[in-house]
Amino acid sequence: MKRIALVVLLLATVAGCESPRRFAPPVRKERPTVNLPLALRQSNWWGEDGQGSCTWATMVSLLRWQGRYKTADWVRQNCGDGEWPDDMAQRMDQANIRYAYVSNGDVKFLEWACHTRRGCGITIMGGGHMVALVHLDAHWAALLDDNAVENYIWLPRETLIAEWKASNGWAVAPVYTPAAPLP
């Protein structure tokens, strides 16, 4: 009888040893949401017509974030100079790039882009420059400027929205799979 009790006790202590971790540790939210590794950030370049290529540089960075490395390389090699919304949409269509854009200052688009962790290119400086919007929450926004890719620029949400709306309100985002969040 004692032996049986001992065996039962041993079994009870051993049972469940191989059980997987039941509760994952709490997760800290990543800031900015689109936390582009430095190596993926594309700096601006001069196009064939001598113009800056900020719109395309922004697209290259965001395409890399969404795992489209070859498409990004193709854009880097074949596109350049400044763009207008319609012209850029036409080029993206020709290149079979899946994208979405607005040119009417619809803030919901920016919220969608950051909420889904894709990010988007937005116009600033009166429409003369495009940067990547990499974070937008209730209070703050973060930008990645292709003219200085080392650091993010943080600014109040309302300041960013006012600047964007005063700059034609154009925003464009590739629509693929964003990189997974940090564990």
Partner: protein, 230 residues
Amino acid sequence: MNRLLLCVLCVLALFVSVAPCLADTVNGVLAEERVVNLPQDQDKWYISVVGDAADGRYKEVSGWFDSNPSLLKLKTQVQFCPVETNTPIYQERYAGNIKGLPTVRMQKPDGTVVYESAGKDIPLTAAGLNAAFASAVNEAQGLRPILPWRRDVDRRLNKCQPQPKLEPQPQRDSDPEPQPINDGDTPDVEPDAVVWAAWLLAPICGAALLAGLCLGYGKKLTAKWTPSHW
């Protein structure tokens, strides 16, 4: 002349009444130019398959998501991220937090890891991996796993569940085929049905009962024939 004026006034009145109905204002800006339905997939979970592109095991595990119907279905319900070790994404976002190669990791949208296995701990078959995902999803949601013989019943009861919305096929480029655009939420994963013959259950039970009776009777006979005063 009066009729002409009346017509003009009618047309103007029509414009005045219809315009506000068409113009959807968002933050003070007219939004009637919106041309696309954006995927509301912020609640989709993530599955990352991480490995060396030249590693056969990585290729095999990645391939399961195209060849196994259950994993293929799961792939369309999540943000699927194949990550190769020669990419900056791997260096900066995976190298420091994985236990080995290849790695399969399932995460909630906030980054919480609900399942992770690496190297030899990855299930040997696609069905095994799918079952591991199903178990992890159920556990993360605090659900009991559905027993195999209950699945059809549950399916019949849940017939009215909405089917995932499928958008037009994505365009091709030189990168891998992109995932279809669809909205998303917690993945619905079911382990592959174990193929077993339910009709075998009755004969097995009968045989066990018979064996039990025989054993009992045998013991009685043994006790009867064995002298108790030995």
